[in-house]
């Protein structure tokens, strides 16, 4: 799927003329070489950071306490959750089963999607200009709360 889209765009570039293709190939490879050390630091480093943060603490934060304090802790927990989508969603599911409020779990999942530190460190900072990353993160801060508010307003499914 991924390489198919690469091949497809490469073909379009080739149709535009060989120089366009070679220029983008060179550009892409240079980006790759530039990014590899950062990815290396991100991948290898985030494993250690994840190992330091125990998952039980995060589920505890998500516990059945309700209200805006619960939402706030859920947001912090979401940002601090290490690991890929399996971990993020599983912890959310556990919290939901353990009696966490739906708005809190929504806030948790959305905060995790927006700020999960591992993804930001591993992918976003290496690939994007750092200024953009910080700016995006800062701008995104209100949104888990907004989502929780919407969830509180429209109620549980």
């Amino acid at each position: 799927m991924l390489w198919a889209s690469v091949a497809c765009l490469g073909f379009i570039a080739f149709r535009r003329g060989r120089p366009v293709l070679t220029a983008s190939l060179r550009e892409g490879s240079m980006d790759f070489i530039n990014i590899v050390p950062r990815i290396a630091l991100g991948v290898i480093g985030s494993g250690y950071i994840a190992a330091v943060i125990p998952q039980e603490i995060i589920t505890g934060w998500l516990g059945p306490n309700s209200g805006w304090l619960g939402v706030l802790t859920a947001v912090i927990a979401g940002a601090a959750t290490p690991g890929g989508p399996v971990v993020g969603f599983s912890l959310g599911a556990v919290a939901l089963k353990a009696g966490g409020g739906a708005p809190q779990v929504i806030a948790y999942v959305i905060a995790w999607a927006l700020f999960a530190f591992q993804r930001v460190l591993l992918w976003e900072i290496p690939f994007m200009p750092a200024r953009f990353v910080w700016f995006r993160a800062a701008v995104s801060v209100p949104f888990p709360f907004l989502a929780a508010a919407i969830a509180m307003a429209i109620g549980k499914p």
Binding site: M1, L2, S5, L9, G10, A13, R16, G17, P19, V20, A23, S24, L25, R26, E27, G28, D31, F32, N34, I35, V36, P37, I39, L41, V43, I44, G45, S46, G47, Y48, I49, P85, F89, S90, G92, A93, L96, I106, A113, L114, R119, L121, E124, I125, F127, M128, P129, A130, F132, F135, R136, V139, S140, F143, L146, A147, I150, A151, K156, P157
Partner: protein
């Protein structure tokens, strides 16, 4: 408009634009006659100019130093807790993960480079630029929602969009939309783990968020960097 971008971008864009437009219609007799004379010089220039600023693009920036410090502290904590075995175990696991990710990262980088090269810059900056209004945010949101692949495609593509003239607002809408309503992740992970009801409910709640985030981002950006704004 390019005031906010990295120096590499500002160098690269005119160089590539001029080259591709020069080679676009080889049937043109003037271009043909000029090609052998003129082309080698600008091509070499561009070849020199393009990767070089890329290197200067702060390979070790402020952010990377912070991350490295965090990693060092965490690794020390792991070492204190689990001994050298724990450290080595995580290292080998992460190294194999790293090896698996590399080809996909390469694909993502190539994707970003092709997009930078292929998309018409004027069109992008018109439809996703600072003056694109709500439409630009909606396009960014839709694009992020349908974008295939994981972070290894989303971020290079977002970076490429910034390069070709999208503003922070539209790019924020795209990135946020990709993380919140990107169908790939929702179908692959959220549906089986969280259940259909919760997933649909969450996605409905999330629908307006990318546009709001993009609008908010644009609003703040224009006030933070008034010189850059038109």
């Amino acid at each position: 408009m390019h005031g906010y971008c990295r120096s590499s971008v500002c160098f690269a864009v005119p160089a590539r634009l001029s080259r591709s437009s020069q080679l676009h219609d080889p049937s043109d007799p003037i271009a043909l006659s000029e090609l052998p004379l003129k082309d080698p010089a600008p091509a070499d220039d561009a070849a020199e100019a393009e990767p070089r600023p890329g290197h200067i693009r702060k390979p070790v920036g402020w952010s990377m130093i912070v991350i490295a410090a965090l990693v060092a502290v965490s690794a020390t904590l792991v070492w204190r807790r689990d001994g050298i075995d724990g450290v080595l175990e995580i290292l080998t696991h992460d190294l194999s993960l790293f090896g698996g990710i590399l080809p996909r990262v390469l694909a993502g980088c190539l994707l970003g480079a092709f997009i930078t090269e292929i998309l018409p810059h004027e069109k992008v900056s018109r439809s996703l630029g600072p003056n694109s209004g709500l439409k630009g945010l909606l396009i960014g949101t839709a694009f992020g929602a349908i974008l295939p692949g994981g972070p290894f495609t989303a971020y290079p593509v977002a970076s490429a969009l910034l390069t070709v003239g999208a503003d922070f607002g539209a790019t924020i809408a795209m990135v946020v939309s990709w993380t919140l309503i990107g169908y790939g992740r929702a179908v692959a992970w959220e549906l089986p783990i969280m259940g259909t009801d919760f997933t649909l409910w969450r996605i409905v709640i999330s629908l307006p968020l990318p546009v709001l985030a993009g609008a908010f981002g644009r609003f703040v950006y224009v006030r933070m960097y008034p010189k850059v704004a038109p």
